[in-house]
């Protein structure tokens, strides 16, 4: 089979391909600018979450423009230059254009990337305020537990932390009885929910007892891996009361999808009442 110039049927093929690409592009744009997708995107409940959403939008606009231009550009050249017996233009390229789009994309992408670091820095590169409410979160297969430092604001050491040279064969994750800081610690065992106070800075101290898990709350727009052997801080301030789903976001075994629990965001009064209930148990 020798290809002949101006293959008949190429107009149909060109048209269908171009049309498919156009439909795909328009459909994608439609989905992203109208309601359906946003009904799934839960509203953020912290200022940082809103900033992340704004950065997301900036990125969406830029990538959206590139997406539309590139896909429609492809559809256009496919149709416009379909074989109709013409001779192609002999060209090896255009250096000016190369320099132009190299610089344009470099500035846009790196600019976007640098700008994104502002929100990152606000969460990760600054220590939590000294009056932040500290809560220890411990992941394990397949539940979360929590520990509050109590009125003294200090966490007691676990047995293995109090005696690091000792090798424990049982219960290393029990608060050391001799540690005075631990006397008022409140442990909420595996499968508990936890609570924070609205508009109050919180610092989570995220740990794991076995494999790597990840603490994720959609409405905060934040997640942090729970890595065994490490204690990793995560700070936020929730501004909208409610009950929010916590899920595990790092594959941890067969129960990975069953580690859901809840974060309650409560007014101070409600929180005090909740705490009283928890302590009484």
């Amino acid at each position: 089979m020798v290809l002949k110039k101006g293959n008949s049927g190429s107009t149909a093929t060109a048209a269908i391909l171009a049309l498919l690409i156009v439909i795909l592009t328009l459909w994608t744009v439609y989905i992203f600018v109208t309601k359906p997708i946003w009904s799934w995107f839960p509203p953020a409940i912290n200022e940082i979450g809103h900033e992340i959403d704004r950065q997301f939008m900036r990125t969406l606009v830029i990538t959206g423009v590139i997406f539309v231009l590139a896909q429609l550009g492809l559809a256009w050249v496919v149709f416009r230059y379909r074989s109709r017996g013409q001779r192609a233009t002999y060209s090896h390229g255009n250096n000016v254009m190369e320099v132009f789009w190299t610089l344009a994309t470099l500035i846009m992408f790196v600019g976007l990337g640098i700008y994104a670091q502002r929100t990152w820095a606000a969460v990760r590169l600054q220590p939590a305020p000294p009056d932040a409410m500290r809560i220890e979160i411990i992941g394990q297969q397949f539940k979360w537990s929590f520990r509050l430092p109590g009125p003294d604001g200090k966490f007691g050491k676990y047995k293995f932390e109090a005696h690091p040279e000792q090798e424990f064969t049982r219960d290393p994750w029990v608060v050391d009885a001799d540690d005075p800081d631990g006397k008022d610690d409140l442990v909420l065992g595996p499968g508990s929910v936890f609570a924070v106070v609205v508009n109050q800075p919180v610092e989570l101290l995220i740990r794991s007892k076995d494999v790597t898990h990840s603490f994720f709350v959609r409405e905060l727009r934040l997640k942090q891996d729970a890595v065994p052997g490490m204690t990793i801080p995560l700070q936020f301030t929730a501004t909208v009361p409610g009950e929010y789903q916590v899920v595990c976001a790092e594959l941890c075994g067969l129960g990975h999808h069953l580690m859901g629990t809840f974060m309650k965001v409560l007014s101070q009064a409600d929180y005090d009442a909740w705490l009283k209930d928890m302590t009484a148990e």
Binding site: M1, F41, I66, H92, F109, W120, D225, V227, V247
Partner: protein, 582 residues
């Protein structure tokens, strides 16, 4: 008499079935062996994904071999093996070791690869690796469930962390370690061949972009697989020799205290992703090379910006080695380091954009012929744009805090690897089939395969971005653990149906491929009127490709529609005085 470099060490035509088809030293046979291995693995991988999507559509579904339904641990084993088989046995073999082995020597005018024995060993080592990997399905406990990424300590602690994490996981690590050795052997061969066996007149800047992509990909493999091998050995020691490279102390599982201490789980991630990120460029670069090649051929135009294309391939390869931390923003790694990785990752978008614009530039002003390989190459461009752009979200630290480990990531890498790279393989198959077998594949079946696949893959993976944006975590066996997941069930159903249809369409390809080997219409020596060296030799090529003489190359690889020339193409090997003017 002229000596041909390839001829110095080339081997005589083999006799006997074993030497000809099993332990062949002929790069063409070895290339076909790799392609067969990849094809088999692809269908196994697709079958696993059918099972996965069945469960995601209906978690209670009962199936043969799964009378109680697919248990969550079995689902995770399917996820793990699907990823491992597809990434290693399909995406890292066919584009590079398959088509590269077959066509690199021919496109540079050599009689064979630099080291044919090493080549043969690299295939059989890969084969051994595949056998060991597949064996994991059949041992007690079954296949591992930690994902293809095998994060520690889940992958290091053994059966106590879950079914399949015992012997199955050990076999997995061994299989991957063997694969590392095989890949390194291949990389050495590709680099030496490209540097030292080029024919007269074939300077580096006259090499087809396919050769450039195989050459650069071999460079990536060379530097990346050694790191994975080291990681695998350390993991194996943690699992079997009681070391603690990756396992910290005071872990408690099922009330037992694990007797390890001091190791770093994040160390595994660093080692794995130092390999893992370049790995994805190994998967895509050959596809980019063949796309450039085919777009040029069927637009009857030189590649727009050949030098820029070479620069872009090289930049992607280089930058690919300094961005691995973008997989680890929330891993507990230093946030300062994360910031650096984030900005660096955004720069990789630049050479990718250069390539996309140059592909459009190649098409612009062309005379486009819509053959099946061309359709898949065009599809590649569209899919690469879609898949690449979602990377811009994930590269930003702040946004990734939300999107990490959601289906947004799964959508991103499937569009890029699980579709664009696959389209690259289809392009290569349809394009080079006539040369490999002396017959044409059916154009109508090929086009049908294209339309169904192109629509199908978008139907599967575009909606996946949305459930990712909604915060749907990945590697979830079902949505029973969080109320917000229930509303996304209809999307899962849609994606599953789209997947079944798209996968069914691949059997059209398989049928076309096998049928055409025996029954396809006989092909001319150059049915596509292409310019590179493989189209100047018979279909299929003789044992030593160029019948003992060294070809001479007179021009670049994409001289189409040259003004003043009668034909709209000039073979690289046509002497200037033989070019017919008009």
């Amino acid at each position: 008499m002229t000596t041909h470099a390839g001829a110095v060490h080339a081997h005589e035509a083999p006799k006997g079935f074993i030497r000809k088809y099993i332990f062949s030293l002929d790069h063409k046979v070895i290339g076909k062996q790799y392609i067969c291995l990849a094809l088999f693995s692809a269908f196994v991988g697709m079958f696993l994904s059918v099972l996965m999507r069945l469960r995601l559509a209906d978690p209670t579904i009962k199936l043969p071999f799964f009378p109680e339904g697919i248990l969550p641990e079995q689902y995770l084993a399917l996820v793990t093996m699907h990823g491992t088989i597809m990434v290693f046995m399909v995406l890292t073999t066919a584009p590079q070791s398959g088509f590269g082995n077959y066509f690199l020597p021919i496109q540079i005018g050599a009689a064979d690869m630099a080291f044919p024995v090493l080549n043969m060993l690299s295939f059989w080592t890969t084969f051994l690796s595949m056998v060991v990997l597949m064996a994991a399905f059949f041992v007690t406990g079954g296949a591992p469930l930690g994902g293809w990424t095998a994060y520690t300590p889940l992958s290091a602690l053994g059966e106590i962390t879950g079914p399949g994490q015992g012997l199955g996981m050990t076999l997995w690590v061994i299989a991957i370690a063997i694969f590392c050795g095989a890949s390194l052997m291949g990389a050495i061969n590709f680099i030496a061949t490209t540097l030292d066996l080029r024919a007269r007149g074939l300077s580096l800047m006259r090499m087809p972009l396919t050769v450039w992509s195989w050459f650069i990909t071999a460079g990536i493999s060379l530097l990346a697989f050694g790191v994975l091998l080291a990681a695998g050995i350390l993991l194996l020691l943690d699992r079997t020799a009681a070391t603690s490279f990756f396992i910290p102390g005071n872990l408690v599982l099922t009330d037992k205290v694990i007797p390890h201490k001091g190791g770093s789980p994040i160390l595994w991630q660093h080692l794995f992703w130092f390999f893992g990120h370049p790995e994805v460029y190994i998967a895509i670069l050959p596809g980019m090379g063949v796309t450039s090649h085919v777009l040029s051929t069927f637009s009857r135009k030189p590649v727009f910006g050949y030098r820029a294309m070479v620069f872009a391939l090289s930049s992607i390869a280089f930058l690919g080695f300094i961005v691995w931390g973008h997989h680890m923003f929330v891993s507990g790694m230093s946030p300062y380091v994360g910031l650096a990785f984030s900005v660096l990752t955004m720069t990789i978008g630049v050479p990718s954009a250069i390539k996309t614009f140059n592909w459009l530039g190649t098409l612009w002003g062309g005379e486009i012929r819509f053959t099946t390989p061309m359709l898949f190459a065009l599809g590649f461009v569209s899919l690469f744009v879609s898949g690449g752009l979602s990377g811009l979200f994930l590269a930003q630290t702040s946004i990734d805090q939300y999107l990490h480990d959601t289906y947004f990531v799964v959508a991103h890498f499937h569009l890029i690897m699980g579709v664009a790279a696959i389209f690259g393989m289809f392009t290569a198959t349809y394009f080079w089939f006539p040369k490999m077998f002396g017959r044409m594949m059916s154009e109508s079946l090929g086009k049908l395969h294209f339309w169904l696949s192109f629509v199908g893959v978008y139907a599967i993976f575009m909606p996946m971005h949305f459930i990712g944006l909604a915060g749907h975590p990945r590697r979830y066996a079902d949505g029973s653990g969080a109320a917000f997941l229930a509303s996304m069930d209809p999307v899962h159903m849609f994606m599953s149906v789209a997947a079944f249809i798209t996968i069914a369409a691949q059997f059209i390809f398989l049928f076309n491929l096998v049928w055409s080997i025996w029954k396809g219409k006989k092909a001319d020596i150059n049915p596509w009127q292409a310019t590179t060296l493989e189209w100047s030799i018979p279909s299929p090529p003789p044992h030593d490709n160029f019948a003992g003489h060294e070809p001479t190359v007179y021009r670049g690889p994409y001289e189409f529609s040259v003004p003043g020339v009668a034909d709209d193409f000039i073979l690289q090997t046509t002497p200037p005085d033989k070019v017919v003017k008009c």
